[in-house]
């Protein structure tokens, strides 16, 4: 399998937080959801991939090269942050001109088409855009320089569901090309629930797993049992639990419980919450 991003033994230390060591390989051609609570280190990882911060150790390559040694690589990477970092006084058409002077692969026509599609007027100023519009502008820029990899860092948080849905459509359209890859960090999991191919789960600076979403959902099951019944279950099988006054809710590994047990399909959110909160 070919990889768009390869992170090897990445470590970044802060005073009160350490990220890593992280080993993460992002396969080419898929949509990868990078999930975890706020402060788990998602943004730090993405910034390290983009060369915005210096890791303490480890090696990160994108399409086989390191971004910091090779800025031209950024032509191939579309980046959307949770905010648009452009001066408020700039008009959208000036943003286009600026980008055409910065990206060697810039496609003015495509950018204009996206502005049109998103109903963004070229004469509007950046400061007059709503949050949703800023996100759409950011996405328009990211998609107008022939990027093969899109990195979205909490880009959809704080947007209303209709806009999130629109953005999801654009991402899926982007993925129609087999060599295109999307890495999206988010704590809104409903967006990723259906469409993500892989889920990478970060918790307290450590990568707990990176798995195919389908496998993940098939691997685990949810069930409600009484306190007595829980004792009959192999403790190894219980991944997370939520005890309440009248019994237990469990997230279990399907392979380790009897087949007769009635299990329901967990959502990615269930898996995330049970693993984080369910001290076994």
């Amino acid at each position: 399998m070919e990889y768009a991003i390869e992170v090897h033994q990445l470590i970044k230390r802060y005073e009160d937080f350490t990220l890593g060591p992280i080993d993460l390989k992002v396969p080419k051609g898929y949509l990868i959801g990078y999930i975890g609570e706020n402060g788990s280190g998602k943004s730090t990882t993405l910034k390290a991939i983009l060369g915005l911060i210096q890791p303490d150790s480890g090696k990160i390559t994108v399409f086989g090269n390191q971004v910091k040694d090779n800025p031209q690589l950024l032509n191939k990477i579309g980046v959307v942050f949770d905010n648009l970092f452009l001066p408020g006084e700039m008009k959208l058409k000036e943003v286009g001109k600026y980008c055409s002077l910065s990206f060697t692969t810039w496609q003015s026509k495509q950018f204009e088409e996206y502005l049109h599609q998103f109903k963004l007027s070229p004469n509007k100023k950046v400061k007059d855009l709503s949050r949703g519009m800023k996100m759409k502008l950011s996405l328009s820029i990211a998609l107008s320089h022939q990027a093969e990899l899109l990195i979205l860092d909490e880009a959809t948080s704080g947007l209303d569901p209709v806009v999130r849905d629109e953005i999801l459509d654009i991402l899926l359209e982007f993925l129609q090309n087999e060599s295109h890859t999307v890495l999206i960090s988010s704590h809104i999991l409903s967006d990723l629930e259906k469409t993500a191919d892989y889920i990478a789960f970060l918790h307290k600076g450590k990568l707990l797993f990176m798995e195919q979403k389908d496998q993940l959902i098939e691997e685990y099951g949810l069930c409600s049992v009484s306190n007595e019944a829980m004792k009959t279950i192999d403790p190894e099988a219980i991944v997370g639990k939520r005890s309440h006054a009248f019994g237990q809710e469990l997230l279990v590994k399907r392979s380790l419980v009897p087949e007769s047990m009635e299990l329901s399909k967990p959502s990615i959110e269930d898996i995330m919450i049970f693993i984080i909160k369910g001290e076994v």
Partner: protein, 208 residues
């Protein structure tokens, strides 16, 4: 590099427009009052102000985070911040030639004075830019104010000693004047190169 310079200009058009208007007013005033000596000195202040404005606007929008995701190397980004200074230094040199030509009746001495005035803004921005990159535009502005005072004191000193300096400059053989001019320019450009190198290292190791 052109891209960043373009962005710096369009992102604070009003400030630059006002600066140009005020400068023109000062120039016309200076000419009408036969105080043309002010003109080269005006060009010393301008790049420092404009560079400061560019950094402030950039910081307000955390623009650097966007810039670093475009295919621009850190060095190119830092270099783009010296464009203002270089343009104005050049203007300064030319205006020195024009202003002092009549006074001396030759080009050699004005060329020397020009070279000295040319070096001022470059030295100042070479200090200013790494400071702003390191400490941010806010603290960088304090350094800017300090350099203003320094400049002010220097220009006072210069105007007092102008006669002496000029006579000393004239003592340098006329034939060496262009050579000395070139020498000054070269060493100044070297200072700028070192400053760019330091600036690049600062950007590289800073967290965005």
């Amino acid at each position: 590099m052109i891209g960043i310079f373009y962005k710096d200009i369009v992102s604070s058009k009003l400030s630059y427009f006002l600066t140009v208007i005020i400068s023109l007013v000062i120039i016309f005033y200076a000419i009408s009052q036969h105080q043309t000596i002010f003109i080269p000195f005006l060009f010393v202040y301008l790049p420092i102000i404009l560079t400061g404005v560019a950094f402030t606007v950039e910081e307000q929008s955390s623009n650097i985070k966007f810039i670093l995701t475009t295919p621009i190397s850190h060095t190119t980004y830092v270099k783009s911040k010296y464009i203002f200074t270089l343009c104005f230094s050049f203007l300064e040199y030319i205006s020195s030639l024009v202003v002092f030509k009549d006074q001396f009746g030759n080009l050699q001495t004005p060329s020397l004075i020009g070279a000295l005035v040319f070096s001022l803004p470059i030295i100042i921005t070479s200090i200013q830019i790494p400071c702003i990159l390191k400490f941010g535009a806010e603290k960088g502005r304090i350094i800017m104010v300090a350099t203003y005072f320094g400049l002010f004191a220097l220009s006072n000193l210069l105007s007092d000693k102008l006669e002496v300096i000029i006579s000393k400059l004239q003592n340098i053989g006329m034939s060496y004047a262009y050579l000395v001019t070139a020498g000054i320019c070269l060493s100044i450009l070297m200072i700028m190169a070192i400053s760019i190198k330091i600036g690049t290292l600062i950007v590289q190791y800073k967290e965005y």
